[in-house]
Subunit: 321 residues, 2 copies
């Protein structure tokens, strides 16, 4: 029996690697989907992510006892390196161990940190920061990107509501005005909690985006990376009933404990995750981006004729799979 | 003690009505936030939503026994009225009662319907549609909007990655190319599952957006409304482990039952919810939209200088509160 639902699935399949076979059951022949284009990329178009740039964050097990691991990719140079260095130092000092998820605001952010800092109702003193971790200032929000990199990545320009242009650099979505580029707040990106300017935070307080891209935060809060696996362990957490989605003390049991956060390169070899992202310099990425902006696979009637940078997520996969 | 977190909260407060008092604790004096601007709107700038346009969807209680109600606003004319009429008919025939949420795909959609239609693993026959419900065609995807309405709403234009212009009409976000306008896939919007074109679905299968706006679906799937209360009951559901986020039969217990879906005007007066939205024709909306595009409240350093239509959500509130 034909299952029309599967056709809807085909239309809604963009981010589902396994969509192609499913859709194929009753799909008319048509142009390849973005995922199918990526599956055809040559091995050399995939760039390994250094283990130094990966964090493994282990949450307390789910109520059914299942493991909850989140893998974070830290942002490469030239962006946000002051905060990124702080975050490696905090992870290696095991400062993040036993902090909690304290805020879940629908269509906005999940935020984790020290409950005595990260909680409007707290009255205790915050944990001290380890040696070498310093609160940053604004100088690192935007970067003049070296020529070479700009040539390497500058394969396409998209109309954007927030900048003169957007692009992908070092595997991360970025936006530009004049000579300056900055990383943007797409779904799953990780930012740094801060006090009022000129204080721009240390990296001890972090949040990730769980809704529509809050691009107004670009250049106002430092972005330091993104979640590349296990996002669902954060995005599906119960929303907080307090102001801004904070958990109130009455719902303290909803605060998910973070057991450990480790730099992947510090883990035993057998436990180290290995990921790679699709280069923008190869022949596949521009075709993938074009297919995201103009869906021509069977389900679609009217290609959009454009896309915002957060709807062209850089393909990332586990290495050797 | 100063709680820097509260300052971060101020920055991340856009969608939190109660943010202003919180932020005020240690916020420097500055321009009002978008929420503060909306709080200053005159009573006559709020437009009541007809009870005929509201659906109350009651999910099975949460594991802790708490009630889970979702309020849906159906789209007003001239958009999608064929599907909207089908949906009222389906609700009044109690067709939606005892269907389930069958798919939750992270950063994409939550989808509910008949498990024998809405499930790649099903082998039973789908429920028959009630008298008067017909599968629609493509003619209703875009609308030439009458002059008067266009003048009324045409207060601002925003650069958009997907259209020549975007705006708000009848309280809903819309986009335009040439003479034609269509509603857009923002967070919380509700769309209609369909088979391959020219079949565009009946309204028996519905989904809502739980991630970054999938604007490539605009003009390809009919949008029929949005969730205006209780979104968190859907967005925080566990993600499905099957292809496209469908729950597999091994995780059948994750399929949330939908107990009833009722048109609000059919409910006893005491149970009818009352909502209103902020008119775009008053003096407040343009100031609110400008403040969303250029945050000048204390936390911000660099106003974005723009916003996409999905980051200017139309303010909606319970009436008389």
């Amino acid at each position: 029996m034909t299952k029309p639902l599967i056709s809807l699935a085909a239309a809604l399949a963009l981010s589902a690697p396994s969509s192609a076979p499913l859709a194929a059951q009753d799909a008319p022949v048509g142009a390849p989907s973005p995922n199918e284009i990526v599956e055809g990329a040559a091995a050399e178009e995939w760039i390994a992510i250094p283990a130094e740039d990966l964090l493994v964050m282990t949450l307390a097990p789910a109520t059914n006892g299942s493991e909850r691991k989140v893998v974070i990719q830290l942002m490469p140079a030239p962006f946000s390196q002051g905060w990124v260095e702080n975050i490696r130092t905090l992870a290696r000092a095991q400062w993040y161990d036993d902090i909690t998820v304290n805020r879940v605001q629908d269509n906005y952010v999940v935020q984790w940190g020290d409950l005595n800092y990260d909680n409007p109702e707290a009255d205790g003193e915050p944990k001290l920061l380890p040696e070498g971790v310093k609160v940053m200032d604004e100088s690192d929000y935007v970067q003049r990107v070296p020529e070479a990199e700009e040539e390497q990545a500058g394969r396409y320009r998209l109309i954007d509501s927030y900048a003169e242009a957007t692009d992908v650099k070092g595997g991360f979505p970025v936006a530009q005005v004049g000579d300056f580029w900055w990383p943007v707040h797409c779904y799953g990106m990780i930012g740094v909690g801060r006090n009022y300017s000129p204080d721009t935070g240390s990296g001890a307080e972090l949040y990730t985006v769980i809704g529509h891209a809050p691009r107004h935060l670009d250049r106002n809060i430092a972005l330091v990376g993104r979640i590349i696996e296990g996002m669902e362990h954060l995005s599906s957490l119960p929303r907080g009933s307090g102001a801004l989605g904070f958990y109130t003390d009455e719902e303290a049991d909803k605060r998910t404990p973070i057991l450990t956060v480790r730099v992947a390169s510090d883990l035993p070899a057998a436990e180290q995750p290995h990921f790679e992202f699709l280069s923008t310099a190869g022949e596949t990425f521009p075709r993938y981006a074009d297919a995201r902006a103009n869906r021509r696979d069977p389900f679609f009637i009217v290609p959009a004729g454009g896309a915002d940078i957060c709807n062209i997520p850089v393909p990332i996969r586990r290495a050797g799979e």
